[in-house]
């Protein structure tokens, strides 16, 4: 059995399906629709249908009805109360809090924490000569043990930081032996792609890799070469094979 309740609200009269379609097409502004009014009308129709299959739906919609009202700003509630008083759908007269008010309350809380954090950070800085800018830079690709602990998100964050610094500061370079390793891998990948002279699947570059560190180095080497315009990369679909071309990009 299907049920498509009829809804009559300001500026609209039709079935619930038609209402949803109108909202999706932006023919109606969802912010202007009193959802608890819609819920109340729907409940009445479902109750009238007398079908036990709708019972769980009734309970869930009842919960949604109460929750939607508790989140509404006071001024809208007072408008709704006038509409709902006639149908006896009035919700207990607790002091309602709007979403905005709740967020503002949280904002006040975290603004207060801001001062607390400032006190702690100032004290720690003075006790320890702690400096955010003098901290040792995060090491990446420098130890096999470290790489084994790395998650894709760590890698992404480190890469993002390195890229930002490289863009902002020409003097920033990856120091120590790892720079040499990366530099060597960049050359290897570049030579490999150019010697083939045709599109090279990225998976082919990884096929000879045996260690996680080398996989990371290969990935960063490709990213570097693409970013610097020495090779180009193309991927037809998400998660599909990435093909590398000697720059400029060639059409298939």
């Amino acid at each position: 059995m299907t049920l498509d309740p009829r809804v009559e609200i300001q500026g609209f009269g039709g079935t619930l399906d038609e209402l949803i379609t109108a909202v999706r097409r932006h023919e109606l502004d969802i912010l202007e629709i009193l959802l608890s009014d819609v819920a109340a009308q729907t409940r009445r129709e479902v109750l009238a249908s007398d079908d036990p299959a709708f019972e769980p739906f009734m309970k869930i919609s009842g919960l949604m009805f109460v929750k939607s009202r508790t989140l509404l700003p006071t001024e809208i509630l007072s408008m709704e109360d006038e509409l709902l008083e006639e149908s006896g759908e009035i919700v207990p007269a607790e002091e309602p809090t709007s979403v905005r008010e709740r967020l503002e309350e949280q904002y006040r809380l975290f603004s207060g924490l801001r001062e607390h954090f400032l006190e702690l950070a100032d004290l720690q800085r003075d006790r320890l000569h702690f400096s955010l800018t003098r901290q040792p830079r995060p090491r990446f690709m420098d130890e096999i043990e470290y790489v084994e602990l790395v998650t894709p998100f760590d890698l992404l964050a480190v890469y993002h930081r390195a890229l930002r610094r490289a863009l902002e500061d020409d003097s920033y370079r990856v120091s120590t032996d790892e720079a040499h390793l990366l530099s060597r891998r960049i050359t290897e990948v570049f030579d490999f792609v150019f010697q083939r002279g045709e599109k090279t699947p990225f998976s082919l570059i990884l096929s000879s890799v045996r260690r996680k560190r080398d996989a990371v180095l290969s990935f960063l080497a490709v990213v570097f070469l693409v970013a610097s315009g020495k090779i180009s990369a193309r991927q037809k679909r998400p998660f599909g094979e990435i093909y590398l071309y000697p720059a400029p990009e060639e059409e298939e």
Binding site: L113, R114, Q124, D126
Partner: protein, 173 residues
């Protein structure tokens, strides 16, 4: 195996030179000692420093030699050129939200702050105070942000449980 007094002195030297917190497991592995002996030596060291200008602070899950808070005013006079580096108010606010709501998405942070927070987030990521800790299951699979051990060190906390409970702050506010 080192004698306990020697182990204590070695640990003191490591702590003095270390740029960050030293954890008991790391020190134990490095010195070939058991973690229990390292902890015993650290306890002795803390006792020794109980009447000194320095103290052994538990921070970010490790130990660090720091100056005593009661002498900070004198340090400020001596180190008059100390770099007055502070996070901006926006950064501290965002950091507070992440610290208490972690893991949290950027959208959730922005809902509370009411303003775009991507710049502040990049800055905090750059300073290694927050990290991307995963992806949410919500639509769009947004990144989740959490604090780092560096954040604990930044505030001088041993772990997140040392953050003041939200209820007490609400009362204070």
């Amino acid at each position: 195996m080192l004698e306990l007094p020697t182990l204590t002195r070695v640990l003191e030297a490591i702590l003095f030179l270390s740029p960050g917190p030293v954890t008991a497991p790391d020190a134990a592995a490095c010195l070939g000692e058991s973690e229990e002996r390292v902890l015993e030596a650290l306890r002795l060291l803390a006792e020794r420093y109980s009447d000194a200008g320095l103290e052994l602070q538990r921070v970010a899950g490790g130990y660090e030699l720091v100056t005593r808070p009661e002498y900070v005013q004198h340090l400020k006079k001596y180190f008059s050129t100390l770099e007055k580096e502070r996070l901006s108010r926006a950064s501290l606010e965002t950091l507070a939200i992440i610290a208490y709501r972690q893991p949290v998405t950027r959208a959730e942070i922005e809902a509370i702050r009411g303003v775009n927070s991507s710049g502040v987030l990049y800055s905090l990521l750059d300073k290694n105070l927050v990290r991307i800790s995963g992806k949410s299951d919500k639509p769009g699979k947004p990144f989740l942000f959490s604090t780092t051990p560096e954040f604990l060190r930044f505030l001088g906390l041993n772990d997140l449980a040392d953050l003041p409970p939200v209820e007490s702050l609400q009362r204070r506010l």
